[in-house]
Symmetry: C2
Subunit: 189 residues, 2 copies
């Protein structure tokens, strides 16, 4: 693709649209292209000039969100006691989950089925690796599939995000609650 030759203002607009979309969709998963274009300080036509459809825009936003998330998660120290590593991973992960909660909803009903999971491959692999190491070292249970444990972690974190959103727990409580729950749920014997 000769996408390399893109005029400077076009690149600026694309970036503006992406960040505006991330903001809007995080506030309201049903945000329209008009809302997003307006928030980006750009005409709706310009938006469609860069993204052929609302779905492809959401896909791009999602890809970007995962990428920046991965940047954060990549810096988490996952060595040492797997239980403490899990704690550190939860600490970083759950904030991302909370932040991108609404965006996930938008993706789920605009993107083809399976696409969301596909884009989650990297973060999921990271969790899986840690869990498997913990199993090898005998601190995590082996009587349930790793994929199930990953799913439990995912759902507990999203549940916490909902609880915060509903005002039933505070942001500070979330990480310790999640960690305490998962460590108990995952431990061996």
């Amino acid at each position: 693709m000769a996408v390399t030759t893109r005029r400077a203002d076009a690149q600026r607009n694309i970036a503006a649209i992406l960040t505006a979309a991330a903001e809007c969709l995080s506030r309201d998963p049903a945000a329209s292209t008009s809302d997003i274009a307006k928030a980006a300080g750009v005409g709706r036509v310009t938006l469609y000039g860069h993204f052929p459809s609302r779905a492809e825009l959401i896909d791009a936003v999602f890809v970007q969100a995962i990428a920046t998330g991965e940047e954060t998660l990549g810096q988490v120290d996952l060595t040492g006691d797997p239980r403490e590593a899990l704690g550190r991973l939860v600490e970083s992960s759950w904030q991302l989950v909370d932040q991108y909660r609404a965006l996930l909803l938008a993706a789920q009903d605009s993107l083809p089925p399976g696409r969301v999971r596909e884009l989650h491959a990297d973060p999921m692999a990271r969790v899986e690796r840690l869990l498997e190491r913990g199993r090898d070292e005998g601190v995590f249970r082996t009587d349930l599939p790793t994929s199930w444990l990953v799913s439990v972690m995912h759902n507990v974190m999203h549940g916490a995000a909902s609880e915060i959103h509903a005002g039933r727990i505070t942001s500070d409580q979330a990480a310790p609650y999640i960690t305490a729950t998962l460590l108990a749920a995952f431990r061996s014997d």
Copy 2:
């Protein structure tokens, strides 16, 4: 209300609409009133004659679903060892969760915020009572709020439903997985 005086065919139609709506919405949370009316073998106008809006129809369906669910759950023996009681409760609950999964989604984006939780008051209270008894008897942990534990149970069950829906686990595996996970997550010490 003199609703007592309702012609027989009207009552039949109302019932048909409710069950058709439950079916349609369970298949597709975005099912339209046309779809539902068609499935009920009834004109769309008739539907609106009984339910002033799509939202109120969904509310009625949801109320009915909760009621029939409560009927099932009311028969679960919650006495004896709280851990075994939890297992029995999970066994009955998770199937309802799986069955009404999509209906819940429909309710969540058609009903006013808080309404869904409001209607869940009874089943939630049942779980809470069991958990508190387990705490009193020293078998369930007390270092986390009961409401959090209830939320964990809720989210793990819904997560299981998603896994089934995506074909990653089978219906048979779900209950044991859920129970094994929750018992570990909830146990004291």
